[in-house]
Subunit: 300 residues, 4 copies
């Protein structure tokens, strides 16, 4: 079996909605057509930026199926298939494989967080990886789940033959470095879950990035990676540092509504979010525009 590489930029794409909150498949395709012109290694479909928690299971599968039509085979389609229960996660992961996903990415179950200890998480992920017809990635995003996947669980799971990596959105760079060290002999790849610490993560052993910012600045992030690979740290830093503020704007600060608004400003289709997310206020849009202009993005 040829090894799947997670090196590169994999934007976690938003799910486009129409005014009535129905899924807008036409704009899903037009966005992908444009992203396909960018130097991206693939896409995460149905992740946190895809508002997966607002989609029915059917919708989650359909969005992946539709995205696959627009994504060339030489770009990875990484599908979010995490659910709270192990049995439903297994079921959805299988369906995602049938719908054309190359890899499944599995957010931590988190509702019963006080019981989600290392043993429970290891058991969950092992069961799903055993049952999955496609390779799986772990996914830790404490800002959303309130749960930080423990390093100890990651290190143990890295030896599973069907678990190929981790998307770490927590950004604790000491922890990332520790996991890189402890999994160095395993077939396991770490990707940064946000552009804010991409260079730092590369420095300690990560190989790629799944950045919300990649939806609007994928070219810059691919360039950062190239600089790093050829040992040009100064060059990589010159790209990284100015992007932090813009990255924060489309993540922690303004969230998915901010990312979608930024896409609208940059010629993609962002469109509405599903409720209870609210669209940005006028003042927030002004501020977002200022930040994007500051970083040199081609705002309309």
């Amino acid at each position: 079996m040829s090894r799947i590489s997670l090196s590169g930029i994999f934007p976690p794409i938003p799910t486009p909605f129409k005014a009535d909150e129905g899924i807008d498949y036409k704009h899903l395709q037009s966005n992908l057509d444009r992203w396909n012109q960018e130097p991206l290694a693939g896409y995460v479909v149905g992740g946190s930026n895809g508002e997966f928690v607002f989609l029915t299971v059917e919708e989650r599968v359909e969005v992946v199926r539709a995205a696959r039509q627009a994504i060339p085979r030489d770009r990875l389609l990484i599908a979010g298939s995490g659910m709270e229960s192990t049995r439903e996660t297994i079921d959805l992961t299988r369906r995602m494989a049938q719908a054309g996903a190359d890899v499944a990415i599995l957010v931590t179950p988190s509702y019963y967080k006080s019981r989600m200890n290392v043993a429970a998480l290891e058991h969950h992920y092992s069961q799903v990886a055993d049952a999955s017809p496609i390779p799986v990635m772990l996914y830790s995003v404490p800002a959303n789940t309130g749960l930080d996947l423990p390093a100890q669980a990651v290190i143990a799971l890295a030896t599973h033959p069907n678990i190929i990596g981790l998307k770490d959105s927590g950004g604790d760079i000491t922890k990332i470095g520790f996991m890189a060290q402890e999994t160095r002999n395993a077939d396991f790849q770490i990707v940064a879950g946000s552009a804010g610490f991409f260079l730092a993560a590369l420095g300690v052993g990560a190989v790629g990035c799944v950045p919300a910012l990649g939806n609007i600045a994928g070219g810059k992030l691919a360039q950062l990676l190239e600089c790093f690979k050829r040992g040009d740290i100064a060059g990589a830093r010159a790209i990284q540092l100015p992007l932090i503020e813009a990255n924060t704007a489309v993540t922690a600060r303004f969230g998915v509504p901010g990312l979608k608004a930024a896409m609208d400003m940059l010629g993609y289709y962002g469109g509405p979010v599903r409720s209870p997310l609210l669209p940005l206020s006028e003042a927030d849009i002004v501020e977002l525009r200022r930040v994007l202009i500051k970083v040199g993005l081609p705002i309309h």
Copy 2:
């Protein structure tokens, strides 16, 4: 329209599973038959203790429908119908009404917690309450969701004619008192979301309780409420204080697996939990048994 009273004890019942994790409707009924002998005012079906996040939408509705068959009309059936999206919450709430629920209880959406500000939460709950054919309750459970429903949102929503109350599982008694004060002129009732602070909550204006402990010690909690109502604080305290340790055992400490194990010890059907929850270890079972015996529960 006659006002619905939330005074009394409303255990949030677990969903019984068979060995294969399928729903065990027979034991759902037998448990309810026994609880119906206890001095309870009703039940929460499909709440956090019901492992609702592990059930499909269909299962959630079916469990409510089945429970209704076993719950007499003079006891309230409060059905958990919260989803992350407003549209799905509305849909499920309507289905719960059709399935026989008297009241819907709506956990806070929480995945995009940084965006779940007062405006977003007010909008979400207002939309659902407008659309619901049955009265709704707010539900704040930060230990699971990582989000504490802000007092300001509760106070504003209390004036909605179809929002009748709040289940507060956070247990910040200062906040509960403040909300009781600020909603005193509204048709709005607060219930404690855990038996650990039941007496304290009554003291500052709550009227009832939705306690995990109510599944195994409903009689004692009903007695506590009676003491309080007739002004016998010393009597109420004599019941309350020894119960705290047992309550913690079946909530924060051992979670739903602990509650189900306790039910097995006490002649109810607890049975397995769904994965990724794990059953208690042998050592934990010994400790749980010790705590339950200490409080005088009739362990087999």
Copy 3:
């Protein structure tokens, strides 16, 4: 040795400063003269509201000595003598006894919070209690220290003959009830560290209160306690609930600057705070005034 009662209201008095931030002993006395007219059981001197962390050790002792001159013998003077190190805490506690303190109150050491486990805290408090010529109280105030004194440590320390109680400012009412239950056979008294949860704490076994609000509304709080003692819960609640907002204003919301501003509004001497605390803004003062008027305090 006659047992010291912690039943009653014990305001933690602010340390008055002159415009140059020097201690204003004249106004310390005039404030105490007025408080002595109120139905208070005593005072905490050099606590969190006394800005003790901004005082030198010499100043801390001198303020206690001066306060003792103005405090009648039948009112308790409880002096804050906590330091980070055990040796300095012992030394200061002895000096406080010589300066006239009846009881010493000892904030948790907290700088090395990851090492302040149950064993370390038990050792610290035991050493100090052994060495102290006067009875000592434990003091947990996580909003300031970032450390919540574990119930397990409190329960163990409650049996020490020279440890007479706990001031709990964390306000976790379930924990307070649990500690009351587990220390019921010890000579140990719990007092609420804030007026916001005073009634709730009484309900689960606390006997008194050390409330910032007691500096400006001591009479109301004493009345609340009287209602509770005679079984008039409705009366106690009618006092408690409206006070929560005012209490929050002079604690969590506006802090010591808010308390001092409120004192200035009510005919006491509040005066400046020491830097880095800043005085309230004009807008905050307007808001504070509104809250105090709402609760019926006699604002000038």
Copy 4:
């Protein structure tokens, strides 16, 4: 005035105590004599690893004075002079300058954390920097203080002519990168406050490190810095990654007692900690030894 460089490794040295907890000046000197053989750029004296919160003000000054005798003029002596109050911080900073400190490092005041907003912190640090005869550094260590110095305050203070840098022990690498970007035109240097994220911090613009681990592995850390400076990222990473576990052992995991125990194992004088810190248990010592051997340190 020649600019002071913070490039290099600056161990925050422990304060050696005798068995009776008195300061052991002899071993302070012998430790420094040995560190002076290592490729270090200077020392932080009286920082968190120096147990400064357990020292009297007199002791803090005396330790700096004694250390200065043993520290050659071409190595920086950075003295911890932070206190909770602005006035005492100013006073102590002046005394540290007289005692021979080259730079003062100022931990955030944190007791009244809810009031320590950007305005209060800017005011505090500006006042101290104005009054200080020597350059000052900001110091953010949320694991101890519970307060993370906001980026906005750092960026504003970076323009002050007497504020030369920041020691960041929080380790949020996105924040560090953002501050580096926003202060790029100021005369301001960022140093990593822990060896765990040293390489990552260098990658985003930091220039040095104040690592507890530098007390026992200063040579390795200096080598890491050299690799980085000459563009050898792979070499730097090969040093960085294995050190993370050892670094965690002498910081987050075992704290100052762990650092002192490690020093004892490596031929320095570690000695006892002051109470309420407790010495390591036997089991912890075994584990610490294992970790240090794993990383190749020359354990006796």
